[in-house]
Symmetry: C2
Subunit: 268 residues, 2 copies
């Protein structure tokens, strides 16, 4: 048994120690990787290693979106595994999120838990609520691992179904209320997009101190100030604020990460 | 350019020629693969090859659930690719569905389209509607490829959110109505679980001749007769009826597949 913290405590310890709520999204599409990495045997991994080198002092979490590795099939999978192995060895205190948005029947969710928590070693995985809470059991029973349930996503068309009103409440709110009942092991978080700060404020009132994963700042245009002021919990924590493309494809990822860290902290 | 049919036409041509609406789900979890395959270099692929050998005469489609390959990381990905290459070479007329239930923002869905349609060569992929139709654009614009949108899933807890009533209609129906508007290229299908035959009947009335992917027979216990009588379209087609565990882990997969084919056809 390791005596390192797991779950929410791992995130909060790192956020405090690094004085940062920043998550860098490792959405490393091979096409956009600079030429100097493309010539290497493992271009996605080498690029990620460089991004980690440049940014790690300013982050609480990293979040690879698995789609950009799957796009290359087995080769991309190997590079994702190399990235995770590197992060866990060199930076064991940084919180590692797999953005996968999985939503499956129970027997299949068990296979996903094995893959993402055990094979890759992620601390947390994003999951989709459309199939309900019943099939999430293989995730929710993992007391040391975090399930991050989509409530309000950051994309422009998020409201098409999430804003439907049933029994006087929008679907995103109903989902969040159900997540409170799924949280018996204290291992749930929700997604609340920075592009919808009003919904973020409502969710903070509803969810107590629960931590939110906040996509949508940076390239997606969500306002940092509104997200932070609406979303912080009483500990001045409770947010994992992710920027992917706005950092990793910038000229100077380290500086961009530090700027986001400083901007967020200026509103805390 | 190939002159083979694609999309719905590919499915219908195969269903007619094989006189079958059966889909076999290649949910090949390594743990359950018989010992004689486990000693081989590519146990999932070799097992799949054997299942295909035993069952192909009786099927219109195969549907690997990608979770069971991802569970092994890059090794499983390779075996899935080997399986797809084998199927496309030896049985180019069989319809190939990836059960992945993806639901992402648009830039990420583009990566999934590349992975699943181009790298693996699937004809169709299951997708989750929670983020709305806007991010599905990279799928919907692929005129030769099918997006199969979850409407009513087969799991016991499917109704937790799918049965919520907004504006007098349950969410599963609202999703299906939106899919009709997304279907400009005639390349959408929906998921309608066999475990909910009443919803299947409503969906058939609503959706015209659209083809439904029907999980939930076999190990999940859905009644074949009710699903077929409720779900057939006017061409006595319009259903892709999947059994996974009930076939692939049986003593005699070929016989089980033929029995399901015969049972379905007895109600057509």
């Amino acid at each position: 048994m390791s005596d390192h913290p797991t779950g929410v405590e791992k995130y909060e310890a790192r956020a405090r120690n690094a004085n940062s709520l920043v998550c860098v999204g490792l959405d490393t599409s091979l096409e956009r990787v600079p030429e100097r990495f493309k010539a290497m045997e493992y271009p996605q991994f080498e690029f990620n290693k460089w991004i980690v080198e440049e940014t790690h002092a300013h982050v609480a979490a990293y979040k690879p979106n698995i789609a950009f590795y799957e796009a290359r099939g087995e080769a991309g999978y190997k590079e994702l595994k190399l990235t995770l192995d590197h992060l866990r060895e060199r930076h064991p205190d940084i919180f590692l999120i797999c953005d996968a948005k999985r939503g499956e029947i129970g027997s299949t969710m068990a296979a996903y838990a094995e893959s993402l928590f055990d094979h890759f070693g992620f601390d947390a995985v994003t999951v989709n609520p459309y199939l309900g809470g019943e099939p999430l059991a293989p995730f929710l029973e993992r007391k040391d691992k975090i399930s991050i349930i989509l409530a309000r996503t950051s994309n422009p068309g998020a409201g098409e179904f999430q804003d439907l009103v049933a029994g006087g409440k929008p679907l995103w709110q109903i989902v969040a209320e159900h997540v409170k009942t799924w949280n018996k092991n204290g291992n749930c978080m929700i997604v609340a997009g920075a592009t919808y700060p009003e919904e973020m404020r409502s969710l903070r009132e509803l969810m107590g101190g629960m931590t939110f994963l906040v996509p949508g700042v940076g390239a997606q245009g969500g306002p940092v100030r509104d997200a932070v002021t609406a979303g912080l919990n009483s500990q001045k924590l409770g947010l994992i604020i992710n920027s992917s493309r706005g950092i990793i494809w910038s000229e100077d990822p380290g500086t961009e990460t530090r700027k986001l860290q400083t901007e967020i902290n200026s509103y805390r």
